[in-house]
């Protein structure tokens, strides 16, 4: 079986200050230094791929990333977990691109490396949290799409059964291969630790680099399909942490007042 896992390198949102300023041009923090990480749901996707490789002998994992040179770190991390191949499509602009453009680039790259049995993506990237690329990619590739997968329950040559999240529960869903799955987290798909020996070896392995022109994509085209052109404004929501004490003469009065506040905030 062949699996392509799409990995995005992002500024670690948890490691950014609360007074974060985002540059609307690049979509990235305005500060010049911030820690980078693999988008968390992409890590869950990678773990699912690794679990399949553990179970199904002969499984080949291709880690694919579209990003700047620094995204090579992301691919090294996948290599240190024994992904078989790493492919970086070099992003030629620092400008923010929308999901349509990214999905087109990824689709071309996947066609170039050979259409696999399974394409895995995180359900959304942890920076802009849009959650569209995986689904658009399925359409670009003409694949059926299974969203919000937490586990692969079984796999034979032609079909796979996924456990997927639905509103208020979960379901088992069977899909014909090839298929694209977007992955959500659960306790079974936390990315494993690498062995130090494999981290060392990963430094020596090759990351294949593809350019947009090698994929037959015109960078200018990508620019033109920027839907983020509709981006009007970025602002930091003000959060008040001053405690408002609920007034009242009796517990009953306070309970009513509290309920009123919660209703106002649409919490009950």
């Amino acid at each position: 079986m062949k699996i392509v896992v799409c990995l995005k390198q992002i500024p670690d949102p948890d490691a950014l200050p609360s007074d974060l300023v985002i540059d609307p041009e690049t979509g990235k923090p305005a500060a010049n230094k911030y820690p980078l990480t693999i988008s968390p749901f992409d890590e869950n996707a990678l773990e699912i791929a690794l679990q399949l490789k553990d179970k199904v002998p002969g499984t080949q994992i291709v880690a694919l990333s579209y990003g700047p040179e620094s995204a090579e770190q992301t691919l090294r991390k996948a290599l240190s977990l024994l992904a078989d191949e790493a492919v970086l499509v070099k992003k030629e602009t620092s400008k923010l691109e929308d999901g349509y453009g990214v999905a087109r680039v990824l689709a071309s790259a996947i066609r170039k490396v050979g259409l696999p049995d399974l394409v895995l993506c995180g359900r959304q990237a942890g920076d802009w949290d849009a959650g569209v690329v995986g689904f658009l990619l399925a359409d670009e590739l003409g694949l059926p799409c299974v969203g919000f997968v937490s586990q692969v329950v079984s796999a034979d040559g032609n079909r796979m059964v996924f456990k997927t999240e639905i509103e208020g529960g979960w379901q088992f869903l069977e899909a014909e291969l090839p298929v694209l799955a977007t992955v959500t987290n659960d306790e079974t798909n936390v990315l494993r630790m690498a062995k130090i020996k494999d981290i060392m070896m990963a430094h020596r392995r090759k990351v294949s680099v593809l350019t947009l022109s090698e994929l037959g994509i015109d960078g200018g085209d990508l620019e033109r399909c920027r839907v983020h052109g509709g981006l009007k404004e970025l602002f930091t929501p003000v959060s008040t942490t001053v405690c408002e004490f609920i007034a009242g003469e009796s517990p009953a009065e306070k309970a009513l007042a509290l309920l009123g506040k919660l209703r106002e905030a649409r919490l009950v």
């Binding site: 490691a15 950014l16 911030y34 820690p35 630790m193 690498a194 130090i196």
Partner: protein
């Protein structure tokens, strides 16, 4: 039988090249594992974490030295180093091995929010930077000026944890009474970085340290007094390599000097039976064993209760090296051993001089249901209560 794992000279050389240089000094005598406090805690880690074995596997480059649970179990208490006949720098080796994983992006789950918060907020507690001085809200706290003698550096824990804030407030009160010239910088300060350093988050440590060093230098800081032994050791032993040369003191040292000069006196004496727990970072790492004891000698009417393991061979509370943020099952915690020991010796108060130790011992004392029988007090709190 398990399959034999191959020896890898390549891995071994790689490890030696990234900071485990003293690994080869180890002759596998096993003293380190024999004295490790985890052996006495009776839990899973008592057998699973075996520091001799980790070093042996690493020496040979054999898989297993990088097992997450074992590698991140070490509290970096350095009791093993105190016993090592070959002077192997065991804590540095642990730090380097952790560093390979963490720097490659493999951060143990429990440490992820800690490291993220260090980057985001400059403290491990997810506390907003703007609220770093909340602990001092109603105090008249002097600001550090060019002619101030000491920068008072308060541990993040005592800035943000409500219980721990009492420690910082007590230390301020004592320094004030002693007429020490001190001041704080405030919200621009960042965590000393000790946690980051010990869990292998080298880049986070470097950024925190450099930001503090630049800040201290720009304000003209020469002497620093710390509330926590972790900051004390980080500033004194780790900052110089990054260009930060300061004279660093733990507050017990500064206070003792004032007591000796008659500048600080205590109006009240305590007659309770008090035991003292040596924080690993004040004692073994910091080399300060006598200052807290001498200060206690001044205020206690009864002799100090000494625990079974004290001074150079003191046992850890369990919370160094990032363990404060790891969960150990109840009944298997190192702090419980210290609390039980203090109770067995008839102590009513267990005092110590580290915010991590206080937080840990207090939780473990409560976990054992002994909160009515043993009070956990930070030394500064105990001394300040004698100031009236």
């Amino acid at each position: 039988m398990a399959e034999p794992k191959p020896v890898s000279p390549e891995t071994r050389n790689f490890l030696l090249s990234v900071g485990t240089g003293t690994l080869d000094w180890c002759m596998q005598c096993g003293f380190c594992t024999a004295v490790c406090p985890w052996r006495l805690a009776g839990g899973r880690l008592g057998t699973y974490f075996n520091i001799r074995r980790i070093q042996r596997l690493a020496q040979l480059g054999v898989e297993g030295f990088d097992d997450e649970e074992a590698l991140f179990a070490c509290t970096t208490c350095a009791l093993c180093e105190a016993h090592c006949p070959r002077r192997v720098e065991i804590v540095a080796n642990i730090r380097a091995l952790r560093g390979i994983l963490v720097e490659a992006g493999f951060v143990p789950q429990h440490l992820d929010p800690i490291i993220s918060s260090l980057y985001a907020n400059g403290n491990p507690w997810s506390g907003p930077r703007a609220r770093r001085l909340d602990w001092a809200r109603d105090l008249r706290l002097p600001r550090f000026e060019r002619d101030t003698e000491y920068l008072l550096f308060v541990c993040c824990t005592s800035c943000y944890d409500p219980r721990s804030q009492r420690i910082a407030r007590s230390v301020v009160r004592l320094l004030d009474s002693a007429g020490v010239s001190f001041g704080v910088i405030g919200t621009e300060e960042s965590c000393c970085g000790d946690v980051a350093d010990k869990v292998g988050a080298g880049e986070a440590f470097r950024q925190l340290a450099l930001s503090n060093i630049r800040l201290f230098q720009s304000k003209g800081v020469r002497r620093i007094v710390t509330t926590s032994p972790h900051c004390f050791v980080a500033f004194r032993d780790r900052y110089p390599a990054l260009g930060g040369e300061f004279e660093v003191f733990h507050y017990t040292e500064v206070l003792l000097e004032r007591v000796r000069h008659g500048a600080l006196g205590f109006a009240r004496r305590l007659s309770e039976r008090v035991a003292y727990h040596d924080p690993c970072y004040l004692g073994r790492h910091g080399g300060v064993f006598d200052a807290p004891r001498e200060l206690l000698g001044v205020v206690l009417t009864a002799p100090l209760v000494e625990l079974a393991w004290v001074r150079e061979v003191s046992h850890c509370c369990g919370s160094g090296g990032g363990r404060l943020w790891a969960e150990t099952p109840k009944g298997q915690r190192l702090g419980e051993l210290r609390v039980s020991d203090a109770l067995a010796r008839g102590a009513r108060v267990l005092t110590t001089a580290c915010p991590y130790c206080v937080m840990t011992l207090e939780a473990d004392c409560f976990g054992l249901g002994q909160q009515e029988n043993l009070q956990i007090l930070e030394l500064g709190e105990l001394l300040a209560s004698c100031c009236i």
